[in-house]
Subunit: 110 residues, 2 copies
């Protein structure tokens, strides 16, 4: 995965930081499906997701507006997946909604 | 590493997403040192950092104010490290400064 190619700010970021339980039960397939589904939502700008060897995961998704985030939160499959997350998959998580005010990028090839 | 224990919003997040070159030359020690040094800065609230097997790294640091971020950006060792990053260590990166407007957390043990 590469850094997301987002447009000029302002836009919104949802920073989801988590640690997992030891329960698998479809976690990987659901996580992949959520990325696929998010990418089809109106107002989606990109996503970056990593889970480290020590168990900490960070997923940042980028959105055009607060309204786009609210719609994605209400999406049916996503709602089911979030409930499973609380029931089984996550030991702990933080979801932070933030307004990106400025951004800088660097690309060695340009 | 665990999700950062941040206070109630509003506060600021610096989302740093990167891919690395193959050049090591002190990268790991400098990355550790920057986390240690950031934690000593006024207005620092926490940090979460992960690099995945596919090479994508996400580090999110949290700050009380824009002023705290600006001071950290000017810190001398950090400035040297950032320059090395552009010279050697990073293939590509995005730095996004965002204002966290709301946050939700979940902890299985509580």
């Amino acid at each position: 995965m590469k850094p997301a190619r987002t447009p000029q700010p302002p836009y919104y970021a949802v920073i989801f930081t988590s640690t997992r339980t030891e329960i698998d039960e479809g976690y990987g397939a659901t996580a992949d499906r959520m990325v696929e589904l998010a990418a089809k939502q109106p107002g989606f700008l990109g996503v970056e997701s990593v889970r480290g060897d020590d168990g900490l995961g960070i997923t940042v998704s980028y959105w055009e507006s607060e309204e786009a985030i609210a719609k994605w939160k209400r999406e049916a499959e996503h709602t089911i997946a979030r409930n499973r997350g609380r029931e089984k998959w996550y030991d702990e998580f933080f979801t932070r909604v933030a307004k990106v005010e400025r951004a800088y990028s660097f690309d060695r090839r340009t």
